[in-house]
């Protein structure tokens, strides 16, 4: 394969991978702290994409500005979801949480289908087709912004977890729930904050995604499997791991698509996934269990 295709394919994989990483960040955070697999993650992404779409369509708000509104809104939504629905309904049993999030996914998806029909929607922004030319490559500006956004969010999350009191409380609750409770950490609150952060990540991802993508009530499913793979690949609960995993998955998918064809491109991702599980079960950057 010619270099003029190979290089853009790698760059493109990295840019796509950053968005996978952003979606996976929310998932890995929730897993790392609450030790639950959030099946509603894809449905929440769909809801966020719809929110970003309608903010642009009805209020004329640019998706990149909508980040400022949707991030706190989805944080509050996620907080409420964990505090008043998932937490109480689970009775402290992880198996229940799994089912509750699965149920939430079904409800959110079908409510969206009922409200907005199965119609596919896209937005048209002035910069939707802008590119920067780098050495014969045309790199999409919205994708470049998406890449930057994902890196910034990962960095902010990392700083938040490492250097703030909330972050310390989150880490404490993740490591030793009872111990944290004894030290005065309000665990229910911290769990909800974590879930809120995860949901906020999804909202940011949606705003970065919508200028070049479409939305319909089933769109989240296309990303959620990739996000799960990314999380396991990077190491469950690890933020740098999710970032690395996302970029890795993006590049693998792109190159496999190029060499094996788009229909077989997904094989590469899951092949990597199996290899990592075999030889490094804790993931690339995960802590040993």
């Amino acid at each position: 394969m010619h270099l003029s295709i190979l290089l853009p394919a790698v760059v493109n994989g990295v840019l796509t991978g950053a968005l996978y990483a952003l979606i996976a960040l929310g998932l890995t955070l929730v897993y790392g702290v609450l030790h639950i697999i959030n099946f509603a993650h894809g449905a929440l992404l769909t809801a966020a994409l719809f929110a970003a779409f309608f903010m642009h369509k009805t209020l004329g708000v640019d998706p990149y500005l909508a980040v400022l509104v949707l991030t706190p809104a989805f944080f509050v939504f996620g907080y409420g979801l964990q505090r008043f629905v998932i937490g109480p309904a689970s009775h402290g049993n992880d198996g229940n949480i799994l089912l509750v999030t699965l149920g939430l996914a079904v409800i959110i998806e079908n409510a969206l289908l009922f409200a907005f029909r199965g119609d596919t929607r896209t937005i048209d922004v002035a910069y939707g087709f802008s590119v920067v030319a780098v050495g014969g490559m045309f790199i999409s500006v919205p994708r470049l912004i998406g890449f930057g956004g994902a890196i910034v969010v990962a960095l902010l999350l990392w700083l938040l977890l490492g250097w703030t009191d909330t972050g310390k409380a989150i880490r404490a609750a993740a490591k030793e729930k009872l111990g944290a409770q004894l030290c005065g950490v309000d665990v229910a609150h911290i769990y909800a904050v974590t879930f809120g952060l995860g949901t906020a990540c999804v909202a940011i991802a949606a705003c970065l995604l919508i200028p070049t993508y479409y939305v319909n009530p089933h769109v989240g499913n296309a990303f959620v499997l990739i996000a799960f793979t990314t999380v396991v690949l990077g190491g469950m609960g690890s933020i740098p791991g999710a970032l690395l995993g996302g970029l890795f998955v993006g590049v693998v998918e792109s190159l496999c698509g190029l060499y094996l064809g788009e229909s077989l491109g997904q094989i590469g991702i899951f092949l990597m996934f199996i290899l990592v599980l075999l030889f490094r079960p804790s993931g690339l950057l995960g802590e040993r269990a």
């Binding site: 010619h2 003029s4 295709i5 853009p8 394919a9 493109n12 796509t16 008043f84 629905v85 109480p88 309904a89 009775h91 402290g92 509750v100 149920g103 409800i107 079908n110 409510a111 289908l113 009922f114 029909r117 199965g118 119609d119 596919t120 896209t122 048209d124 939707g128 087709f129 590119v131 045309f138 999409s140 070049t212 993508y213 479409y214 319909n216 089933h218 769109v219 296309a222 990303f223 792109s254 698509g257 190029l258 064809g261 788009e262 229909s263 491109g265 997904q266």
Partner: protein
């Protein structure tokens, strides 16, 4: 967890459960099953997938059928038989859902059914209807198996897959020859299920004998999130013609990525049953990406004043004038004509009347209506091209509203 937390938990759980149940119940209640209109006359079943994955197409189809019914009833109904009493059904985007509705419609005493939309649904519902000798007019369903199983009750007014593919190929060759054969190479981008793969196979067999070299055939799954690789391959191979065959979402992504990467084939983007190429929605939302794209698909007769009146009516309702609308509209009129000639709601008589129909009062660019084994021999697709923000018919010449722009100018 402390015990005093538990009571709160239980109450909250009940709230959650109640909310869930309410949401589920409202979903069920809202799903329209069989709704019956009031008034006498003749009952006709209208069966579309108005919920599920095909909901948009089903809703558009129902719109077309209901406009036809309203027009007939406003003019006093079907002569000597009376007003149409529509019995609406939702196939829920599955063959099973469609079958259940056929059963319900049969017990509701309909004299015929129009609809089905998807090939898979039509295959099942026509067969179920055949058990009751219930006349069935297929609105879209392009799979040829629908009309080759010897079902006496089944009629398809529109063209099947075989005719569409054959016409698409013949028209491509004709357009290319007329312009002095500027195109010699082609690349096929298709979705990897039966529809796209079948088409790709056919093209790979039939293009080379006509002097076209197929440089590469690229399958992709539905959904595909990213078309950059595909477009990079197109860029590297630099074909004269790109032939996409996929559904709406992927079509839009492909066209947008091609525009972004500044990839324009030398002669044409020529789609066959293209998901978006002859969609007013796509043209309105992405006029630049859509410019000069050609498609061979279902289309209305732009020279027919009835079609233009229907288009205005649909657009006045804030809806796009899609092929589901005018195919269902025409199929309903075809059936009404047959009932009028049968002079009764007797199923056997309607089947006989459909079988020898020469109906001409429709909005499609078809030849004379003549049914052989349930397939309208006059049915044919049209070639369209997006020219300056509008969709024009460029072939067949008898119905054309513009001349093809070929090879398309490079901008």
């Amino acid at each position: 967890m402390p015990s005093n937390d538990n009571s709160v938990t239980r109450r909250k759980l009940l709230q959650t459960t109640a909310f869930t149940a309410a949401a589920a119940a409202s979903g069920v209640l809202a799903a329209p099953s069989v709704l019956r209109a009031q008034g006498g006359g003749v009952k006709i079943g209208f069966l579309q997938p108005v919920s599920g994955a095909l909901a948009y197409s089903g809703q558009q189809g129902r719109l077309g059928a209901s406009i036809a019914v309203d027009e007939i009833n406003a003019a006093g109904g079907i002569k000597e038989v009376g007003k149409i009493e529509p019995v609406l059904g939702d196939a829920q985007s599955t063959p099973d859902g469609g079958n259940a509705e056929v059963e319900k419609m049969n017990s509701a005493g309909v004299c015929a059914i129009v609809g089905g939309y998807a090939s898979g649904i039509c295959l099942a519902t026509t067969q179920t209807a055949a058990r009751y000798d219930l006349p069935y007019v297929v609105d879209v369903g392009v799979t040829d198996a629908i009309v080759t199983r010897g079902l006496k009750n089944t009629f398809r007014f529109g063209p099947g897959f075989g005719v569409i593919a054959k016409t698409a190929l013949a028209n491509l060759i004709a357009i290319n020859e007329k312009a002095g054969k500027p195109a010699k190479t082609a690349m096929i981008v298709h979705e990897d299920s039966a529809f796209g793969s079948g088409l790709a196979k056919l093209l790979n067999e039939q293009l080379p004998p006509q002097g076209f070299e197929v440089l590469e055939t690229i399958p992709h799954p539905t959904p595909t999130r990213d078309f950059n690789n595909v477009v990079l391959k197109i860029k590297a191979a630099n074909p004269d013609i790109v032939i996409p065959a996929n559904y709406y979402n992927e079509y839009v992504l492909l066209a947008r990525t091609m525009q972004q990467q500044r990839v324009r084939p030398k002669a044409a983007i020529y789609s066959i049953l293209g998901g978006a190429a002859s969609s007013y929605k796509f043209v309105k939302e992405f006029p630049e990406a859509a410019q000069h794209i050609m498609d061979c698909n279902h289309w209305f007769d732009p020279r027919n004043p009835m079609a233009q009146a229907l288009k205005k009516k649909v657009e006045a309702q804030g809806q796009f004038f899609t092929y589901e609308v005018y195919l269902n509209y025409s199929a309903t009129l075809l059936l009404a004509d047959a009932i009028e000639r049968a002079k009764s709601s007797d199923r056997a008589k309607i089947i006989e009347a459909l079988g020898n129909s020469t109906f001409a009062g429709h909005v499609m660019p078809y030849g004379p209506t003549k049914f052989v084994n349930g397939q309208n021999q006059g049915a044919a697709p049209a070639n369209t091209q997006v020219i300056d923000g509008d969709i024009q018919v460029v072939l067949p010449e008898a119905f054309a509203s513009a001349k093809p722009v070929y090879p398309m100018p490079r901008t």
